[in-house]
Symmetry: C2
Subunit: 344 residues, 2 copies
Amino acid sequence: MSIRDLARHLNISIGTVSRALNGKSDVNPETRERVLQAAKELGYVPNQSGRSLRQGTTNTIGFMIESSIETADNGGSFFMPVFEGVQSVFRRHQLDLVALLCGTDEDPGAYLNRIVGRRFVDGLIISATMRNDPRITFLLERKIPFVTLGRSATGGQYPWIDLDFEGVAATAVTRLLKFGHQRIAIGVPASDINLGYVFVDGYRRALSAHGISFDPDLVFRANSNEEGGYRVATAMLAQKQMPTAVILVNENMAIGLYRRFYEAGIHPGRDIAVVGFRESTQSRFLSPTLTCFRISLRDLGIKLAEALLSTMPAFASNYPQDSIDLVWPMELVPGESDGPWLGT
Amino acid sequence: MSIRDLARHLNISIGTVSRALNGKSDVNPETRERVLQAAKELGYVPNQSGRSLRQGTTNTIGFMIESSIETADNGGSFFMPVFEGVQSVFRRHQLDLVALLCGTDEDPGAYLNRIVGRRFVDGLIISATMRNDPRITFLLERKIPFVTLGRSATGGQYPWIDLDFEGVAATAVTRLLKFGHQRIAIGVPASDINLGYVFVDGYRRALSAHGISFDPDLVFRANSNEEGGYRVATAMLAQKQMPTAVILVNENMAIGLYRRFYEAGIHPGRDIAVVGFRESTQSRFLSPTLTCFRISLRDLGIKLAEALLSTMPAFASNYPQDSIDLVWPMELVPGESDGPWLGT
DNA sequence: ATGGCTTCCGTAAACGTTTACGATTTCATA
DNA sequence: TATGAAATCGTAAACGTTTACGGAAGCCAT
């Protein structure tokens, strides 16, 4: 069922059929109607390869999602809603979105090189941005439109959207200080993901804004999952003077942390304050419910899509450049996991 | 950087270049070496559109992942490891795997029709199979190779792999009966996903095998997330005679269930037995830790890939047909959430 | 010297689209 | 009526690749 078959069936040329289907102006409205009708009846859908070959564009966007061991167990709850949002925008432009999950046993650079080299996608969304991310320099020199979810220390001119980790750190720190806490710890990912650096920076700045000196012993690095949270709690318990509060960069860590404290007979929310990130269905149903930060992942996805489109020549006219380099604000949702310090 | 440029640069014809790159036999080893060398130096990667157009094959497989509201929050933890496994097999055959997430505001049938019509993929993996799934009949009549994760009541000849829900139900029921429980409830998804039907069937059969009559009031339907678990617990509490044990089809439900019981002052593992499904990082760190079933999702993914390849003419020779229609066994992992019935 | 292999390589068609260009018709206007 | 513009459509080239086919060269045996 090619366009040629369709043309033969209608007794008109394939050029006219193509123009009719693509909404070009120089075609008789009546003919167009006949073509569209026949296309629907015969179930004709244009072959993407032929179209791509001719126009040099694939009408697909790739969303590269990290699937490392660390994030494999919880990444989905984050990415799925974002993906939803991105897709809702692309659908309006007949763009198909595909998720590209680079396997753990393949080098992300090589993977990206293959995808880009094959002209598989017209643009890319890059997530889990590293502090120094070779993917960014690669895409820049290949002039592939892209946007990153998460800023990076890598140089160059490209749009990025990131969560407001400084804001989160500042809000959490001030809140906990107001509650009377003095030793406030944080739990951040052990990997080289840039998120960790930004978070620690924000934490540091927030502390110094209140005249409190930074204590490196209060920064706990671990995997961003339940096991990591468990380890953080264990490390906290081992300190001569245990922190009275802790800020976690990942809500999955909270479960492991809760568990470790439960084993030690320590009640989060009473004996120790916990602030998590980010709000999810989970955080509302933990006991105690987690104080954390709310964010509309779907809206984030929408902004991501718009930022990408603004860098693509074919769509840039509809999307002004001002939607790029965005720091996404988040709102604190109080839970039962923190409160006034009752200790000595 | 097309094959033509490469040929010009080497002063040989494009036909020879193509043959050299594709490992055809009728090319001088020395020439082949030169071609491969030049391709690497100049960073040549064959254009996928051109290749697809010519061979009628795209070298990509689609993994259609459900992203409905219900599963958006937890689907990732399940699919990511499966995806990993699938990808590890496809990589060996130079096949690229892409995740296709059908947005919630688009009809899955229409989405699939577009993907297939465009000749976007050579094969498909379908998940979240419905009891009556129009996608299956569609793919069958279009003769697109596919495999489903989850069996279906839809007729036709196609490979599927499913988890052993009967086994899970039987094991859980016998275990709980041995513990002295009499009123054993189950929590299953409210949607039309076939998984729910199979699970209830297994539960029913397991009960009757022990001479216990089936009580429809013990089947609780809810969303497969934390909120659903909360609702299930609420419904259980409302019954005149509360069940003494409950089997959940989703471990995320356990969190919500725990929460509701916590609010009611009831301790899972002591006052009520909970058996969950499936084991995850979470289930090991909940308090109490969840008795549940273990499964290697990566291995599951590998089998899925093999089943699909066995139906694709180009690969079938390497993959015998016996790997299809598989019921995946699972192993129980005891936790703290169930035990002997201590009630009256 | 001729014929027949084998080895290697070039030529050209084909895949399904889109689109620049030109051809034809229609129609109003001079 | 002649003319030009507008509307509509057909023709053919082009995108990058693979591959069937044939040709050229080399070699060996007759």
